[in-house]
Amino acid sequence: MASYTLQRLLLLIPTFIGVTLIGFLVMRLAPGDPAQLRAAGGLGGAGGAGISLQKRGVVDQALAQWRAQFGLDRPLHVQYAIWLKNLCTFNFGDSFKDNQPVWSKIRDRVPVTVRLNVLSILLVYVVAIPLGIYSATHVNSLADRVTTLAAFVLFAVPLVWAATMAIVFVCGGDFLYLFPPAGLESLDFASDWSLWKKLKDQAWHLFLPVVLLSYDGFAGLSRYMRSSMLDVLGQDFVQVARAKGLAERVVILKHVLRNSLIPQVTILASILPGLIGGSVIIETIFSIPGLGQLGYESVLARDYPTVMALFTVSAILTLIGILISDLLLAAVDPRIAFGRRQQ
């Protein structure tokens, strides 16, 4: 087991390099020069708009200087190597936009995104697991069919549509005003409010974003739970348990559930990378200052250091998730760690 763990850990390294390299290449190879953005637009200049040629030289020199300052004039592999080296000391560099250290920008926003996603994951599990269990234990009943159909329907609802409909119909436009259209907390949020009031306010603001982030999870996870339970239910040992005379409820809860729950944990591996990308739409629509919004704005602003940092953070999260799920599986199913493929 220990050697398996070590093996997995070591294998993480090439993956990590691969991910960051891809992100790096995409940003650097894309056309467009971030110096132009940084040095104020580029077209404007002295007097009533426009910039005279003599001054153009000064500007170009300043732009070149800015590029040199951020190391953008070095060859690509050198830039990547430098970035990796800095990474070892957790130095993500300074943002192009405002010279703030990237790490602090990310750090400020992590709690927001984490809050949103953790709540969403919790909601998904709380709703989907029981649904899946019920479906599996009442296979092909009306309830099962309805749930399955509902799952499909939910799965097919595009997030952009659901979010837009929410904004249009229930967030204070021409129709109903049930939820706030933006932000995490009311504007007159005061630190001396009672805890209850604060929680209520947060819940009111987060309700729509969390539900929107979760609804396709309801569908997916419940279906997955259902099919994995059905798998287990079809196995011999379940028949044995029933034959032994155990009550159905005990059979389900003690034997079947334990075996079918474990794979659900592996789902975490696919959720974690979604943390940053997934929130982009919701955070943009609802003006929530999280990592997704930061990523989107940084891409548009060609803020290379921040984009790279977000890529890296996402990669790390995913790799951790994959590692955990693999380790969990290996712990549970010895065949994986010790038995190699028959080839």
Binding site: L11, T15, G18, I22, G23, V26, A30, L149, F152, F155, A156, V157, P158, L159, V160, W161, T164, V168, F169, D174, S214, D216, G217, G220, L221, R223, Y224, S228, D231, V232, G234, Q235, N259, T266, I267, A269, S270, P273, L275, G277, G278, S279, V280, I281, G295, Y296, V299, R302, F311, S314, A315, L319, I322, D326, L329, D333, R335, I336, Q342, Q343
Partner: protein, 374 residues
């Protein structure tokens, strides 16, 4: 579970049939694996599949919906156009829509009296127009943000462009992106998956690392980055969606190849000296295709979702193109114009749902174990 389907940009759902694990691709504790019996003949298999498929009314409904959509996309120019089918003018008859095809292909010319005319304003003409007598690009600054009415069935957007026309022509964009993107994903995925599953050892190791890399990348984020930084073009969008979503297909293919590779008939073929390439693509692949087909169908739906998300954010779509996502984008900022939010979203929803139903229907037919449980 593909709970963050769009968000991970993984078009082919990461929700595999329970026989393979998400991360390592190893077999897990589960049921008894039964490999699909090799088909006696390809045509026989698919005919059976179709017969089985037909028995499922919901999946069938989905299939018909997909056909309707495909037809709409194909016939868009005949459903929504500012030119009439048939025109009788000053004693002569013309068929302007057909003529425009000819001219576009440089096989014909416009007669001088019809050059750049507004067909709706020709005096003394008898014309027979398509049900929606507008093209999505027809701007009418005098009729912005019209609510749905007889003149504009689904209303207009801020430039007075007819929404129904936009949706009909938008289906072309959505479907073609779906097909091309998934096509690319299939080619890459099948080849890599086959190689990994067949040869094993270091090839498998490398390809598995590649899987991990692709899975670790925040795909949607990557899509946004590429689409936002490069000049917008439909081809680019199609390609990058395809390039970031082949992993699911590859994994299924790999698993199937792993399973099938150990079967007797394959061992026999190899022993007989059949070349690796032939074994892979002539013997194994046809039997491994089942999950791939399902992935393709679901993948098209996923690609449509991703594309609409991108154009909703305003990236990746050229300025002149009207797509479902771009209309929705307008709807999100002009919230009083509810018709801009409701209809294109509904179209995406129906399309995606139909593909899902077909995909699930296919899976139920093709996956032997589920069939066993019925």
């Amino acid at each position: 579970m593909s709970s963050k389907q769009i968000q991970t940009g993984s078009v082919t759902p990461v929700n595999p049939p329970p026989s393979s694990s998400p991360a390592t691709g190893e077999k897990r504790g589960g049921g008894i694996e039964s490999s699909p019996a090799p088909a006696a003949s390809a045509e026989g298999l698919w005919l059976n599949v179709w017969k089985e498929f037909r028995r499922n009314p919901i999946a069938l409904a989905g299939f018909y919906a997909v056909c309707v959509l495909a037809l709409t996309a194909l016939l868009a120019d005949f459903l929504a156009n500012d030119k009439p089918y048939y025109l009788s003018y000053r004693g002569k008859t013309y068929f302007p829509i057909f003529r425009s095809y000819l001219v576009g292909a440089r096989l014909g010319q416009w007669p001088p009296e019809l050059l750049n005319v507004d067909f709706k304003k020709l005096e003394g003409a008898k014309a027979f127009f398509p049900p929606i007598p507008y093209r999505p690009s027809n701007i009418d600054l005098f009729a912005p943000y019209e609510t749905p009415s007889k003149a504009h069935w689904l209303g207009t957007d801020k430039l007075g462009r007819d929404v129904m026309a936009g949706m009909i022509h938008g289906s072309r964009v959505s479907l073609s992106i779906g097909f091309v993107a998934v096509g690319i994903a299939v080619i890459i995925g099948v080849i890599l998956g086959a190689l990994a599953g067949y040869f094993g050892s270091w090839i498998d190791l490398t390809v598995s690392r590649l899987f991990e890399i692709m899975l670790s990348i925040p795909t949607f984020f990557l899509l946004i980055t590429i689409a936002a930084l490069l000049p917008p073009s439909i081809f680019l969008t199609m390609t990058i969606i395809g390039l970031t979503s082949w992993v699911g297909i590859a994994r299924f293919t790999r698993n199937e190849f792993l399973k099938i590779r150990n079967l007797d008939y394959v061992t026999a073929a190899i022993a007989l000296g059949v070349s690796n390439r032939k074994v892979m693509f002539q013997h194994i692949l046809p039997n491994a295709l089942a999950p791939v087909i399902v992935s393709v169908v679901l993948g098209i739906a996923g690609a449509i979702l991703v594309e609409s998300s991108l154009s909703f954010l305003g990236i990746g779509v050229p300025a002149e193109l009207v797509t479902w996502g771009s209309i929705l984008h307008e709807g999100s900022s002009a919230t009083f114009a509810w018709w801009l939010a409701v209809f294109p979203g509904a179209a995406i929803f129906i399309t995606v749902l139909s593909y899902y139903l077909v995909g699930e229907g296919l899976r139920e037919v093709l996956d032997p174990r589920l069939r066993g449980l019925r």
